[in-house]
Symmetry: C2
DNA sequence: AAAAATATGTACCAATTGGTACAATGACAA
DNA sequence: TTGTCATTGTACCAATTGGTACATATTTTT
């Protein structure tokens, strides 16, 4: 069902990158039209709710991606260890080895969080629950699993901040590697 | 030399909180005048360079604070272990046990970083150098110290992101405690 | 091909943006 | 008290903001 004209879903990845780069406030309509190549007419046709609906749609797409590629393997995979290993691989790729930043993290840090509180909250809550379950299934005690989960999710977010702040993506890959090895699966 | 009228330095903490809460783009002049209680006249008298100079001044103040309260104790304290322990205490207080976010992190994540690249970079570079030196002095091997430094700085930033995203400041305190204990000083 | 539905460009809108100009006010020292 | 300098409020500015209206394409369906 491919069309020549743009589809709503085609523009979501571009919107995602725009919001990552500029934040929600900084992503002005003119920036968005420039990056997507779509005029206001098209934009408001696809997203009648304006910027807020665009960001919501992006967050939804991100949620779906993580559900499929990260949370479900963690929760339901036969081998818990394999699910965890798969998570690290998926994360390394998703964040482009530290070249890409976490949109949810970007939104979370300032007052943009309040606009999208539910989606921001559940992004990390779902991830936490899934990883926690996997670690438990892999043999960790309840308390240890809980701590490890926080350390790993925090470690990922922090490594993204550091990598971008120092303009050195390798910081992310190195950190991810250590987080993984710390588990000696 | 206290004066009845406002001083430039009096307004810096307020500006800091405004930029934390709204980010650089989101901190409009009207938000700033509202939060500081100063009109544009005063604001542009103290900061002729406008918003950019305000943010620069805030970043400078932050840098000074960390130099005095974190980096120097790490670098020059007689007891390296005490310096590290002091760092954790200072950080726990500075970030108000997870109620406050890191302004440099906020700026780092989106394109605001490019405006303040030097200050963002050196905030983490200086911290990294100081902590690395302290860990080395405390007995860690070169490679181990380097990894630990990244883990600790990343862990702090990530914990701040998580705490704010989940709206649960305790995540920060818990993470900080584990990072500290991991060192068994 | 005609009709219906989808998609898009253009013009327009009030509100807000960051910033300037400047006169009036305040403090303070000679 | 007079003069100097720091401080502040107000009015103003062009540019941009997010958003709407709508007529015109462009597809898709019939």
């Amino acid at each position: 069902m491919a069309r020549l004209v743009a589809e709503r879903s085609d523009v979501l990845p571009v919107l995602g990158e725009v919001f990552r780069e500029h934040g929600f406030e900084g992503a002005s309509l003119s920036v968005i039209t420039g990056a997507t190549g779509l005029g206001k007419g098209s934009l408001y046709h696809f997203f009648p709710g304006g910027k807020e609906e665009m960001a919501m749609a992006v967050l939804d797409e991100i949620d779906t991606w993580f559900q499929v590629n990260v949370y479900q393997p963690l929760r339901d995979g036969q081998d818990a260890r394999a699910g965890i290993d798969h998570m690290f691989t998926a994360v390394e790729q998703y964040f482009r080895s530290g070249h890409r930043v976490c949109l949810v993290g970007v939104f979370a840090l300032n007052n943009t969080r309040d606009r999208f509180a539910d989606q921001v909250q559940s992004y990390f809550a779902d991830w936490t629950a899934a990883l926690n379950k996997a670690l438990t299934r892999a043999g960790y005690e309840t308390a240890a699993a809980r701590s490890l989960t926080e350390d790993i999710l925090g470690g990922i977010q922090g490594a993204l901040v550091l990598a971008r702040a120092m303009n050195d993506p390798k910081i992310f890959s190195r950190s991810l590697k250590r987080l993984r090895e710390q588990l000696d699966l």
